[in-house]
């Protein structure tokens, strides 16, 4: 009996992620969901610029590599080209989605574009070697905030779920994390819902995953998972920020 196997939607290739990085877990969750929904053959994934840039080599479905921050616009083009058939997801980091790509994500959400967005928030630019991200915490030391993020100089970290929840457009916004087994299970449930919503034609669904970057946080993998609990989640509370269908069912 097989008790553990690689999801079919992930290709059998080595991932380039650092030890302790949670991208691998999240890739796996997305792939498991694609497998379970049986949609690999009609799924098109959009990879970002950032640590997950080479996601196009990892997922077995058709993949497109987008310019930095533009994945939601590229996804819009793909989705609109065959809305009934194409299942489209973007996989974006915080620099990509919450900094250079804010216009694209806000307007994709405002249009309630029927796509699924997996948003990895690890509070740092990983690929370029650990610069301050739009989501870096106040006081967080990075290569470009060597004395800690000073809100007087660079403002406060951006809360994407809260911000998008103000829009009328989006269908579903949830923030999860993957720093423990129960949290991984909850994350998978959210990701599955975000894909199911698209299949049901409900519209824009975004799952923000609080993720660990031990390399650039300067922590051991274990410490990084703890830091998510101690420092990240107090500022980025987990939970559902919008679920229009659930709310309208309650209203009935």
């Amino acid at each position: 009996m097989v008790v553990f196997d690689k999801p079919k939607a992930l290709l059998d290739v080595p991932l380039h992620y650092c030890p302790g990085c949670t991208h691998g877990i999240i890739h796996r969750l997305v792939a498991e969901v694609i497998d379970e929904l049986g949609i690999e053959g009609r799924t098109i994934g959009i990879a970002p610029v950032g640590c997950a840039v080479m996601a196009y080599d990892y997922f077995a479905c058709d993949m497109i590599e987008a310019a930095h921050g533009r994945a939601p616009a590229v996804a819009t083009g793909v989705k609109r080209s065959d809305p009934e058939h194409n299942v489209v997801f973007t996989y974006q980091g915080d620099g990509d989605l919450a900094s250079i790509g804010t216009a694209e994500i806000v307007h994709a959400a405002a249009r309630n574009e029927n796509i699924t967005v997996i948003f990895i928030n690890n509070a740092i630019y990983g690929m370029t070697g650990g610069q301050m991200a739009p989501t870096s915490l106040v006081g967080q030391v990075t290569q470009t905030s060597p004395y800690g993020r000073d809100p007087k100089l660079c403002g406060y970290p951006v809360k994407i779920c809260e911000m998008l929840a103000e829009l009328e457009g989006p269908e579903y916004l949830e923030r999860v994390t993957v720093n423990s087994v129960p949290n991984v299970r909850k994350a998978k449930k959210a990701i599955k819902k975000a894909f199911q919503n698209q299949l049901d034609g409900k519209g824009f669904s975004l799952v923000e995953v609080i993720s660990a970057c031990p390399t650039n946080w300067g922590m051991t993998p274990q410490k990084a998972l703890e830091w998510i609990d101690s420092d990240m989640i107090p500022y980025y509370p987990l939970g559902v920020y919008k679920d229009r269908s659930a709310n309208s069912e309650v209203a009935k």
């Binding site: 290709l11 690999e40 053959g41 009609r42 799924t43 098109i44 959009i46 840039v53 080479m54 196009y56 080599d57 997922f59 077995a60 479905c61 058709d62 993949m63 497109i64 590599e65 987008a66 310019a67 533009r70 616009a73 590229v74 996804a75 819009t76 083009g77 793909v78 989705k79 609109r80 080209s81 065959d82 058939h85 194409n86 299942v87 216009a103 694209e104 806000v106 307007h107």
Partner: protein, 353 residues
């Protein structure tokens, strides 16, 4: 005889795109090309197509990138400042070998510039416009009829060579009304086995990408792309020669400048001056042959442009600087009058530059 309709140049582009099988248009409002978006907004929903007003030119070109990756004939349009914003996306289209049609109804610049016609994006268009080694095929219509014909040609070329093609128009041709005939030959889009349309479980995944971290591999993609460009230079350079057979003076111009110049050439001929016009219809690839020929029997070439002298560099290269090439231009949204061009021709005829 096929029916003609009276139409604005911009509308002719939109209708021709639809005839060419374009069912996806993404744009952002900017003067003087808005009629294209307005036409698409009206027509696309009626024919099962997509019109989407994006949040920016940057988003629009990336939507084009997505739809093109998914195998569709797709178009965007803008004007000069907006084209600068699309530069990033155009570079990615070129780097990922994706076909797309981009219209630039040029206006005066730099910066916000003005809203009157210009040809000052010639360098940007013919040298690629974004980062990296690449070209677009650049078509330069000089009438509403050609707006239609070259739009259809643009889709064919984009698909044939898997690359972005620009229709380099200007505010005048976009806005002016002329009779246009749409009884045009259309080639259906070719099969696109590379497109990301979903594997359907029947093939390995397709990847649309311009990232190559291995420099040797990236070098190879550039070399292969340029081999394709060589083929295009050989096969796709287009131009019109007007009264060039016995010409002693050649005037060269494209787009609206060519329309003005043709009048000046006709007037000069009435005065007995042996002058002709070379009108490039593609400015990338730049048609070298008519200039090489002109260098054999003309004493001077006058380049008429709506810029400070951009195409003139290609003209000098094309005739190997064998004969003097002078500039006759207006800029900032101003258009040379036929008389200004005529004066330049008369001066050349007298032997001065």
């Amino acid at each position: 005889m096929a029916d003609k309709v009276l139409m604005k140049g911009n509308e002719a582009i939109a209708e021709a795109a639809i005839l060419a099988g374009c069912r996806h248009y993404f744009g952002y409002p900017i003067t003087p090309q808005t009629e294209i978006a307005a036409y698409m907004a009206k027509r696309m929903p009626k024919i099962g197509g997509t019109f989407l007003q994006a949040e920016s030119e940057i988003a629009a070109i990336n939507m084009v990138y997505g739809a093109s990756a998914a195998g569709k004939r797709v178009m965007t349009s803008s004007s000069s400042p907006g084209i600068s914003l699309k530069g990033e996306g155009i570079s990615y289209l070129a780097g990922s070998d994706l076909p797309a049609v981009i219209v630039n109804a040029q206006r005066g610049g730099p910066g916000l510039g003005g809203i009157q016609p210009s040809q000052s994006d010639y360098f940007q268009a013919t040298r690629g416009g974004g980062h990296g080694d690449y070209h677009m095929i650049v078509l330069t219509p000089d009438s509403v009829q050609e707006m239609a014909e070259l739009t259809i040609k643009a889709f064919d070329l984009a698909d044939k060579y898997r690359m972005p093609v620009m229709l380099l128009a200007d505010g005048t041709i976009g806005q002016m009304m002329e009779p246009v005939c749409f009884d045009l030959a259309i080639d259906p889009a070719p099969e696109k086995p590379w497109a990301t349309t979903g594997t359907e479980g029947k093939r390995a995944h397709n990847v649309i990408n311009s990232l190559y971290l291995n420099p040797a591999e990236l070098e190879q993609t550039n070399i292969e792309r340029y081999a394709r460009y060589d083929e295009i230079a050989k096969n796709e350079a287009r131009y019109e020669e007007y009264l060039m057979d016995d010409a002693e003076i050649a005037v060269t111009a494209f787009g609206i400048a060519a329309r003005v110049t043709k009048n000046a050439v006709n007037e000069a001929r009435k005065e007995g001056i042996k002058v002709g016009l070379i009108r490039p219809i593609t400015v990338w690839p730049f048609p070298k042959a008519p200039y090489e020929k002109a260098a054999e029997h003309c004493k001077q070439i006058i380049s008429v442009e709506l810029n400070m002298g951009q195409m003139i560099e290609d003209v000098r290269l094309a005739c190997n600087c064998k004969i003097p090439v002078s500039l006759c231009s207006r800029v900032g949204g101003m258009i040379p009058t036929p008389n200004q061009v005529l004066d330049a021709i008369r001066a050349a005829a007298k032997g001065g530059k």
